[in-house]
């Protein structure tokens, strides 16, 4: 019997009540258990079809974003001819033409890059803010924690899209890719902060942290060596899902007219332009919508699969 099977068995037996579960020993997960957590997780991930669907979709999206010219089938998104305006999809032009008579496949394909850039950039800012504020808050506790937690509550209480709209509408940071990413992150970091904070608090009280402290480890060392590695799993799950959520939010802001502006190419702009033609040329809304949805779905599926793999309690 492989280790994997042994682990499954123990798990199933515990569920079935055949064994009286041992109180989980408080050991440092940074070493052995951490390794087995990841290899165990990979074992589960490998067998999860949702993960593979998500991973393939995500990979395709990545390739499209990096090499759009390859996927545009030779068409240039900016060379348009009004005589082709609103033409329906055909064998030569899979996605048809938009109102200006531009090849729609090329436009949709070229829209991937901005989505990816904003998604990644925004999630990076979210992570930095979330991890720093969360770790400081959870680790130091006391007044620091109270102040930072209330601050987080304040941001949390403002509706996400609305906050970003106000930031962008102010015009202080412009309407470019970076601006949209920052606006999204400014009102999107709170969940990451709460996640990291609660992990840090949970781990901080573990026996092995007390042991490390007793052996004279400094605060910084304990935080970096012992506490943060434990927070990696939930943060990874959260990050994956959040990229998808942020990409959808970018499209929303751009659709509402406060995100990316023409002549930038973006799915949000395409949906906005197409909405008034929903009756006559539904494909103009349909194609960017489908691609946007598949992209968001890729990240959410991967995130879901990761959570199932990393958190044994969630497994079916």
């Amino acid at each position: 019997m492989t280790d994997q099977q042994q682990a499954d068995l123990r798990h199933d037996e515990m569920e079935a009540g055949t064994t009286t579960g041992l109180a989980s020993p408080s050991v440092d997960v940074t070493d052995a258990r951490q390794n087995s957590l990841w290899s165990d997780a990979w074992g589960h991930l490998r067998r999860n079809p949702l993960f593979w669907i998500g991973a393939v979709l995500g990979l395709v999206f990545l390739l499209v974003a990096v090499f759009p010219q390859v996927f545009a089938r030779g068409a240039d998104p900016r060379s348009c001819s009004l005589s082709n305006s609103q033409q329906a999809p055909s064998a030569d032009h899979w996605f048809g033409f938009d109102q200006q008579g531009c090849d729609y496949l090329a436009n949709v394909v070229y829209g991937a890059r901005n989505s990816l850039l904003i998604g990644l950039l925004a999630v990076l800012v979210v992570l930095v803010l979330g991890v720093v504020v969360g770790a400081v808050s959870g680790f130091y506790g006391g007044l620091t924690d109270t102040v930072l937690s209330r601050l987080t509550d304040v941001f949390y209480a403002v509706p996400f899209v609305l906050g970003a709209i106000v930031v962008l509408q102010s015009g202080v940071i412009g309407r470019g890719v970076v601006a949209v990413a920052i606006a999204l992150a400014a009102f999107g970091w709170m969940t990451a902060m709460r996640l990291v904070r609660s992990q840090v608090i949970a781990v901080k009280s573990g026996d092995y942290v007390a042991a490390a402290r007793a052996m004279g480890a400094s605060n910084g060392r304990i935080l970096v060596r012992h506490i943060l590695p434990n927070a990696v799993a939930p943060v990874l799950v959260y990050t994956t899902i959040t990229i998808g959520v942020l990409i959808a939010a970018e499209a929303t802001l751009t659709f509402l007219g406060v995100g990316l502006q023409r002549p930038a190419i973006s799915w949000g702009l395409q949906i906005d332009a197409g909405q008034s033609l929903l009756r006559t040329a539904p494909h103009l809304v349909l194609f960017p919508s489908i691609v946007l949805t598949l992209t968001v779905m890729a990240f959410i599926m991967m995130g879901d699969a990761l959570r199932d793999a990393l958190d044994p309690r969630q497994r079916g």
Binding site: G17, V154, A157, L162, V172, A248, I271, L278
Partner: protein, 307 residues
């Protein structure tokens, strides 16, 4: 119980003040002169500009501006927009639309979400369970924007079942936007219920209930669902506040004159007083429903009540 509520109430005050100040600062610290914009092509007379700046305290430091604003707010005065219309009028006119939209959405979310989640959770890994799992992943992944257009196209234009714009048809006008607004939460409720029910089915006290010889129905309803629904009910309660502030896209796409639409228009027209007034109200709802949930939690779970 009383002390618990009081403590929660106290904790929310700094959050309410902080959030409204955050919005206030963002709106009034914005560059661009809303007064000048008001005149359009014809510049306003300097005396008029000075009068308007004074009316809106625009020359005071930010904190003073805010303090004056809160002072007025506490007397029920939300201020007026640059065209002289009371913000409170806008709110009272628009709010009922948002409330109806939210009510429809919450109803969908609770009824469909809970039923789907319970059916999935009771028979884990069964057909229904997998159906709920897959469909909730899909629904969660569809951006609300996309969902709005797809549903308009399919149910409105193709099938002609529902109106897709405006509120002229009463409750029927709210069905489609309500479903769209609820979709994401609905999927989440289904999953939350499923996980919670499945977890509770394995709980020791459910085993006890079986060992007591209670009828199957009693074991499921009284000893599994009652416990499982605690997190679900609290999520739905908190979601009322979230949805009231999250209806901007739905109200825009379906052309519903609610507060979400109003605040979005106000942002674009730089109507600071309207933006701050409505967002403050949204924050208030958000915090209020979270408080309600905290209390509800204590009512539903005695372990919290007696802490």
């Amino acid at each position: 119980m009383g002390r618990y509520v009081a403590r929660r109430l106290l904790l929310t005050i700094p959050v309410l003040i902080g959030a409204s100040f955050l919005i206030f600062a963002m709106v009034y610290a914005l560059p661009g002169d809303p007064i000048r914009a008001l005149g359009g092509d014809r510049p306003l007379a300097p005396a008029v500009v000075a009068q308007l700046r004074d009316d809106y305290n625009l020359d005071d430091p930010l904190l003073i501006q805010y303090a004056k604003y809160v002072g007025d707010l506490l007397q029920g005065d939300f201020g007026t927009d640059f065209r002289g219309r009371a913000v409170l009028d806008t709110i009272t006119q628009r709010l009922p639309v948002t409330i109806r939209l939210t009510a429809v959405a919450i109803a969908f979310e609770a009824v469909i979400g809970i039923i789907a989640g319970v059916l999935a959770g009771i028979r884990r890994n069964g057909f229904l369970d997998n159906l709920v799992l897959v469909s909730s992943t899909v629904v969660v992944s569809v951006p609300i924007l996309v969902l709005a257009f797809v549903s308009q196209f399919v149910f409105g234009l193709q099938l002609g079942l529902f109106p897709i714009s405006g509120i002229s048809e009463g409750w029927r006008s709210f069905l489609l936007p309500g479903l769209v607004l609820a979709a994401g939460s609905l999927a989440y409720v289904a999953r939350l219920t499923r996980t919670s029910v499945a977890e509770n089915m394995r709980a020791d006290y459910v085993r006890t209930a079986k060992a007591k010889g209670l009828p199957h129905r009693t074991v499921i309803i009284r000893h599994t669902l009652r416990n499982s629904l605690i997190p679900v009910v609290t999520f739905i309660g908190a979601d009322i506040g979230t949805l009231m502030g999250g209806a901007i896209v739905t109200e825009s796409v379906f052309n519903l004159p609610g507060i979400g639409r109003a605040v979005f228009d106000a942002v674009r027209q730089q109507e600071g007083a309207v933006v701050v007034g409505i967002v403050t109200l949204m924050v208030f709802f958000f915090i209020f429903f979270n408080l309600v949930v905290d209390v509800l939690y204590a009512v539903l779970d005695p372990r919290i009540r007696y802490d």
